[in-house]
């Protein structure tokens, strides 16, 4: 009995000890359904540009990091509810989001683009788009952009993840997709499923919708974490780690200018 009691006490002590030393422990939230930036591989492990960048930043900032997977449309509420301390999930820095969360500086910036079925002849102007159906991921800058600029002519289908939108594009339920150009290129067009899809229209970068690039979201008032992540972004940009990760996924510079 005494032995058992001792074990229990030890366990309690051990667990409090980890809480005490948890100051440099940070939990990162990501979506895990947005290749090539973040996805879950066959073994159930997180992979992708966001994940590698996140790990590199934790390394540089001397933080002990742990990942949590969370569906996209609940990812900001999850941060506010303290389920994790930072979002590393290709989240664009926008005014709307800044009202609720803080952001680090950007760690990449790529434009948004439409995708159509090859040979469908749809062009990106209000006449040609009239009556068409466009698939977007819910709660993204792309959805906001579409509703604000083309909401009067197209019908919008919003999906929980980009992968589901791609599936419905393949099934012919939507005529177009609007999303980040890199996510569409490497996550869809360059895959086996995407050989009947092509980009159409200009690059969209208007900061009113697309913000200042992709950053890491933190809770307001968590300035210490934001600062150390900012310093870490500078560090991996200058010591070559960023370039290494960039080269692992892309043959062009995703950082933007």
């Amino acid at each position: 009995m005494r032995k058992l009691l001792c074990t229990v006490m030890c366990l309690i002590l051990a667990s409090t000890a980890t809480i005490v030393s948890a100051q440099t422990r940070v939990t990162l939230g990501t979506e895990g359904a947005y290749p090539p930036f973040n996805w879950i591989d066959e073994n159930g492990d997180l992979q992708g540009f966001d994940v590698d960048i996140g790990n590199a930043l934790c390394n540089a900032a001397n933080l002990e990091c742990e990942w949590v997977v969370q569906d996209w449309d609940g990812i900001i509420p999850g941060l506010l509810a303290q389920k994790y301390d930072a979002i590393v999930a290709s989240m664009s820095i926008t005014k709307e989001r800044k009202q609720k969360v803080d952001f680090t500086k950007k760690y990449y910036n790529t434009p948004a683009k439409f995708v159509r079925v090859k040979g469908s002849g749809i062009e990106i102007n209000k006449d040609s788009l009239n009556g068409k159906t466009v698939g977007v991921q819910r709660a993204t800058i792309h959805e906001n952009f579409l509703r604000d600029n083309y909401g009067d002519v197209v019908s919008i289908k919003a999906y929980a993840s980009q992968e589901e939108a791609n599936l419905d594009f393949l099934a012919g339920r939507v005529d177009l997709l609007l999303a980040d150009s890199v996510a569409l290129l490497d996550g869809f067009i360059n895959t086996d499923d995407g050989n009947n899809a092509e980009f159409v229209g200009p690059d969209f970068t208007d900061p009113r919708w697309f913000g200042e690039g992709v950053g890491i979201a933190t809770r307001k008032g968590d300035a210490q974490l934001t600062e150390s992540l900012n310093a870490a972004i500078d560090a991996i940009r200058s010591n070559g780690t960023y370039a290494e990760i960039n080269a692992k996924y892309f043959d062009f510079d995703v950082y933007g200018d």
Binding site: I76, P77, E96, N144, L167, D168, G172
Partner: protein, 240 residues
């Protein structure tokens, strides 16, 4: 707490609630129409009638509704060419159709099981008495078995209707803008999950209350013969 966001989004939420009601109502009606013959077939002595129906019920009760929705919606997308050839893609293309189809098949399975239970609980004596009067099976079911079975099934069936109403919230994942779907869209831009989901919850609660009220009224009507008659009607003077 600042409630303006709820007030401002109320018209959109109510629009979503309308779709929720529509999908629930359609699925319930078609589902019930399917459930009656299914329940009777489920009780058949002939195994070639009973086993297929039982398998269907077993499948729809044994798998999550979410999986069924994914299967019908994204699954049909995989067979788009085939469905197109047989002219069914026109329907399967629409998320609305896929949602009503899945929910109908789901609720029909559950309702058939509820009805089967209540049909089996009808006293044998009543059935034998009807037979002794020379009633055919059809007449027996129409006059004796089904009316009583419906009354017995009503409390359990009300539960099923309420479950189905709440299950419709799943259709937002196949892009339909039902009450939950609308709330999610507004949350996506306002980042006010608590206020909006509470508002949506209150609307679901109100609809549930209405369903309970209707069910109570129906139950009251159907059980009129079980209550004491109010005294004036049975006063001896009425029989003179």
């Amino acid at each position: 707490m600042d409630l303006t966001i709820i007030w401002e989004s109320l018209p959109r939420l109510l629009g979503g609630a309308l779709l929720t009601l529509e999908i629930t109502g359609l699925s319930i009606l078609i589902g019930l129409a399917l459930a009656v013959p299914l329940a009777i077939m489920r009780l058949s002595d002939k195994s070639y009638i009973r086993i297929p129906v039982y398998s269907y019920i077993f499948y729809f009760r044994g798998t999550p509704l979410l999986v069924q929705l994914f299967l019908v919606y994204y699954g049909s997308g995989q067979f788009q060419e085939f469905l197109d050839r047989v002219g069914l893609w026109l329907f399967f293309r629409e998320a609305y159709f896929c949602a009503v189809l899945t929910l109908t098949l789901n609720t029909a399975a559950y309702t058939a099981e509820i009805l089967r239970g209540s049909i089996q609980s009808i006293p044998r004596g009543e059935v034998e008495a009807a037979r002794a009067h020379g009633m055919s099976s059809v007449l027996l079911y129409r006059r004796i078995v089904l009316p009583k079975a419906f009354r017995l099934a009503l409390p359990a069936y009300t539960n099923e209707v309420i479950f189905l109403l709440q299950a419709t919230s799943l259709v937002s994942i196949i892009t339909l803008l039902d009450l939950t779907g609308v709330a999610r869209i507004i949350v996506a831009r306002s980042f006010e999950p608590y206020k909006l989901y509470i508002a949506a919850g209150v609307i679901y609660l109100l609809i549930t209350y209405v369903i309970l009220y209707i069910s109570k009224r129906v139950e009251h009507r159907l059980s009129a013969h079980l209550r004491k008659r109010s005294s004036p009607n049975v006063s001896p003077s009425n029989f003179r």
